[in-house]
């Protein structure tokens, strides 16, 4: 009983999306490296991943949802979701420049100037400039509005001093975006400015920090009278908080952790069940099924969100719902894999690496406790604590 068309919910993909998906699949089959690259949080792996970003860019597939003028393909977000599914299903490397292409890029498209878009987006798309994010400080973690890194105006520059910590990709990246306090009299969310800071500038010291896996995926960045030209401020000085919240919305919402990644992991988990599962172990079978269902639900939620965005709605604090869901799904999925591996779960493998990384999910991009506060305050509008 097939109906021809329906005005409202109709999940059948458009012909354009189907054709794009096929093109992506073919390209990836020909280009994805046959071996796993070294960890992007080592110097060697960083360089290998940068090369891969350049290859993707040459194939026209590094930033498919961006306008063509900046190196994208101009496809809509539904096709981007299809791209992500194909990308991870093909076993492609992780995205080295995710802070740039998924967080800063969309922020510049929405809040940047034409000059900033022209200057920063093309090399970001090409992998020639890799970005780190600088939000947290030693005394401003979950309480991000407690930022103390400050900048004073001097001629055509801001002069920045302070330090940023847990700077993702900070060890080897070329640039960092983040918030600094430009109004010394200001408190909390006011007086903060969104800045683009080159990590090779005079006065910048980068101290890599080893993560649980021993690699330096993040860093502490010390800023000592670093000169940042006025043109490297995004939006108005003092209006940085709301721009940072837009960036964080991309991070928690659709872009940073797209469904394709978890769907691919769920398929690997099913393969592991078929290989290692004991017949009649209905407990593990149920857990694997749950993991697949959650990954699939995440995919549907993303399509639902994108479809509303395409009709002009904004993703607001609801992004926090998504962040809680994907971070918990990722842990659950990996814990299930460890159960299947039994004694072998102790041995270093892609599953144990993935498990350790999944444990960071409820912490980065704003802890899940902060997300629950945001949901309560801004979605449910409960009284403030």
């Amino acid at each position: 009983m097939t109906t021809a068309t329906r005005d409202s919910i109709d999940l059948r993909p458009s012909d354009a999306e189907t054709a794009f998906r096929a093109e992506v699949r073919t390209w990836l089959a020909e280009h994805v490296p046959g071996r796993a690259l070294a960890s992007m949080d080592t110097k060697e792996g960083f360089d290998e991943h940068r090369e891969w970003e350049r290859t993707l860019h040459r194939g026209g597939l590094s930033v498919v949802a961006w306008p063509q003028a900046y190196g994208g393909r101009g496809v809509d977000l539904l096709s981007w979701l299809a791209f992500e599914e194909e990308y991870y299903a093909a076993g492609s490397p992780g995205r080295l420049n995710q802070n740039g292409i998924f967080l800063l890029g969309p922020t510049l498209l929405e809040h940047g100037s034409d000059a900033q878009r022209a200057r920063f987006l093309p090399p970001m798309a090409a992998g020639d400039e890799v970005w780190a994010q600088g939000w947290s400080e030693p005394n401003a973690g979950s309480d991000m509005a407690a930022i103390r890194t400050r900048a004073r105006r001097d001629g055509d520059d801001w002069v920045v001093s302070g330090s940023k910590i847990w700077v993702s990709r900070g060890s080897y990246a070329d640039w960092m975006f983040g918030l600094v306090r430009t109004d010394p009299e200001s408190e909390r969310h006011r007086g903060l400015t969104f800045m683009l800071i080159p990590l090779d500038a005079d006065g910048v010291t980068v101290r890599p920090i080893g993560q649980l896996d021993g690699h330096s995926g993040f860093a502490e960045v010390f800023l000592d009278d670093v000169r940042v030209p006025l043109g490297q401020v995004v939006g108005e000085p003092g209006a940085g908080w709301s721009i940072a919240m837009a960036t964080a919305g991309f991070e928690r919402g659709l872009l940073l952790r797209s469904p394709g990644r978890f769907l691919a992991a769920a398929q690997r988990l099913i393969a592991l069940l078929n290989e290692r599962g004991r017949p009649g172990d209905s407990y593990v079978r149920d857990r694997v099924t749950r993991a697949w269902m959650n990954a699939e639900a995440h995919r549907l939620y993303a399509q639902w969100t994108v479809s509303h965005v395409l009709e002009g709605q904004k993703v607001g604090a609801e992004a926090s719902l998504n962040k809680i869901f994907w971070s918990e799904l990722d842990i659950d999925l990996h814990e299930t894999a460890l159960e299947l591996l039994g004694d072998d779960a102790e041995l270093v493998s892609a599953w144990t690496d993935g498990y350790l990384f999944s444990l960071a999910g409820p912490i980065y991009a704003g802890t899940n406790q902060i997300q629950r506060n945001i949901i309560a305050d801004r979605v449910l509008r409960l009284p403030r604590s």
Partner: protein, 338 residues
């Protein structure tokens, strides 16, 4: 591809919500608990007048000619109001079954008009909700579908934990009477789809039940004061509600997708229906527990209306297969295909 409701559907949802807010108050729900029949013929007639029962009936038979997707928001509103009448069983299961097999036109026409309730039962000796108010029981077994007059069979009432529910064991097996409506392989498939439709209809209703539970908990958290402030200002309460909202937010697209799969005759329709029932059941039971915890002892009382939705969440999450049952169906579809 489009994954949003259109303005007409949202407007119709508002119409039904307003109607039910006025005509399905909790005082009446409670009054019906003590009534053997427990159903309001007036309200059913008015729902038919509003077009809700014939949404999926062919236009030639007085319906709207729409599909499973059109029933989603009306069923959510039924859940939000804890509607006692069997909107899902008639409008989303019986009517599409008869329409699909192109039999029993008279029943479809009368159902859409609100003058008869056809209700479906599956297998031998089926347990059927609302069998006592059915004008015809559509009983399917194997490859045969029978129309059975409810007065010709013994109905044994079974008490549900939800006092609004009316459950009956129907003493019937194939060959034990009734008019043979249809037979053949097409009936086997149509009955499978009817079971999937039953799961999706309950899932949609559970979304509304969940939304209502969260609304009540949220309102109470705002109003109830302890330690000199509203309890909703405490993180322990906030986080309970936030987690329950995550459950509802992620169940919604899952349920909506399942209806689209049924309407489109997708190969994955059964899997998607089971996924919908599992998600909606889990979201509703979690929201029920959170809402009760937030209400504290007040919510545990017979007098407080929270129990209406708490019990509805529990009953409907168990009906037509609980979450575990449906996950196992998903497992059979997904794990072997890999």
């Amino acid at each position: 591809m489009r994954f949003t409701f259109d303005e007409d559907q949202r407007e119709y949802q508002r119409v039904l919500r307003d109607y039910l807010a006025q005509h399905c108050p909790t005082t009446e729900l409670r009054a019906l608990w003590d009534d053997e029949r427990g159903r309001s013929p007036q309200r059913w007639a008015q729902l038919a007048e509003l077009g809700a029962i014939g949404l999926a009936a062919p236009t030639a038979l007085g319906g709207m000619g729409l599909d499973d997707v059109a029933l989603l928001l009306p069923l959510e509103e039924a859940g939000r109001a804890a509607l006692p009448e069997p909107l899902g069983a008639v409008a989303a299961v019986a009517v599409p079954l008869l329409s699909e097999l192109a039999v029993g036109d008279e029943w479809v026409e009368r159902a859409a008009a609100g003058t008869a309730m056809p209700i479906v039962g599956f297998g031998a000796g089926p347990r059927v909700a609302d069998a006592h108010v059915a004008d015809v029981l559509l009983l399917g077994a194997g490859s045969e579908l029978y129309a059975v007059d409810p007065t010709d069979v013994v109905l044994t009432r079974r008490l549900s934990l939800d006092p609004t529910r009316r459950l009956f064991d129907v003493a019937w097996q194939p060959g034990a009477g009734g008019e043979l409506l249809a037979a053949g392989n097409g009936v086997v498939d149509a009955l499978k789809r009817a079971q999937d439709r039953s799961a999706v209809a309950l899932a949609a209703e559970l979304l509304g039940v969940t939304a209502q539970l969260l609304d009540m908990a949220e309102a109470y958290a705002r109003e109830r004061q302890q330690f000199g402030k509203p309890i909703g200002a405490f993180q322990a309460i906030k986080h309970l509600l936030a987690d329950a909202l995550v459950g509802l937010a992620f169940a919604r697209p899952v349920v909506y997708r399942a209806a689209a799969s049924l309407a489109d005759g997708a190969a994955t329709a059964s899997r998607d229906a089971s996924m919908a029932k599992a998600f909606a059941s889990d979201a509703a039971t979690a929201a029920g527990k959170a809402a009760l915890q937030i209400h504290g002892a007040t919510g545990y009382t017979w007098e407080h209306d929270l129990s209406i939705w708490l019990k509805r969440a529990q009953a409907l999450s168990l009906a037509s297969g609980d979450a575990r049952f449906h996950r196992e169906r998903v497992a059979r579809a997904v794990l072997t295909a890999a």
